[in-house]
Symmetry: C2
Subunit: 197 residues, 2 copies
Amino acid sequence: MDRIQLQNSFEAYFNELGYDIDWQRLTVPMEVHVIQKGDYLFQQGDAANRLYFLHSGLMRYVSVSDEGKEFTQTFAKSPRIIGSTKAMVTETRVLFGIQALENCMVSSYPWQAFYAQMRHDMGFLECYARFLERIFIIKEERENAFVKHSAERRYLDFCAAYPELKNTLPQQQIASYIGITPVALSRIRQKLKLSQG
Amino acid sequence: MDRIQLQNSFEAYFNELGYDIDWQRLTVPMEVHVIQKGDYLFQQGDAANRLYFLHSGLMRYVSVSDEGKEFTQTFAKSPRIIGSTKAMVTETRVLFGIQALENCMVSSYPWQAFYAQMRHDMGFLECYARFLERIFIIKEERENAFVKHSAERRYLDFCAAYPELKNTLPQQQIASYIGITPVALSRIRQKLKLSQG
DNA sequence: TTAGGCAATTAACCTAGGTTAATTCTTTCT
DNA sequence: AGAAAGAATTAACCTAGGTTAATTGCCTAA
């Protein structure tokens, strides 16, 4: 995949929302990142004020607490935009790292420069709003699940939401997505196995 | 406060972000809601696809689980936009109710009609993006606090973030914001009192 | 083929926070 | 002022999930 193709599929991803975007405005140079399985696109605490696009592969957002506990905020499957909205917008350090769970191909633009050019495009602004609405809603639903449901229920919901990841992902990562330890997850799986024959 | 004044302060709130917005476009009629302390602007499960603006007073977003547990997602102090982005945008039922903690004055517009008119205004689109960025970042930070910090730490953070609410709000509500029971909060306060003389 | 290393399970024990209920302290209403 | 209702505290007990560690299974590399 060469740069032109990457650029095209990035644009196509936006265009699919149905707004008319004039991509000629965009002249800031794109960067390409090839991330090997297990490696990080960026680490918690970095200054990651870029807009990233995941062309191929699977990644996870992982934040680690002071005591060294890992928490998986999200799994991200290509194609989609990835990165930290907070770090992009407020120029602060990022609260989580993004790790490749498979070999990944990512492209990126520096957000400030990108936005400075594209903000004059109505279609882009609407796309961006749709994007923000979507990620907000997802966060809200996840918050809801966390405060209203037990770990067992969250595990079942995970299985329903990500049937393909359920069997391929190491259970440590599933546990850290649910917000419990691998030991606790194992216990829950054991219990579920018994209770349904 | 008459309708014109309400309209003006609504517009002023947006204008403060520094974008140029042509409010002449907006012709959908505004509604006014006066909510008494303790009452709800809308209840969990309602269809609340309106854009609300809190002119005066204090409210909280509260969602209740199947088992009847209350969880306070946010406290909202005027002036600010309130409501459910998810319910507005996706026309689904709202996941939480909004309750007045003081007597409140709220105005509102039906979101679809409002957006249909204002989406042609560049300044508005940018404002809306700033708004979405902000609420997303706040959610992200709260998620972070929940998964990384203990209840005790979350209480201390609450006290630092809302010094004025700390003493005026009933502790049940503080507890439900932190995600624990009033009994547990009382225990934590007791412990803190001892440990610092 | 086997040794080394990691992932998952299991068991024993621990702890933060939930539950219930009794007690005290505050409001508020008459 | 006194009664009634609600808010906060305290205590006793319970439970989900954390912690540590031993055991088993699986994969890979020599």
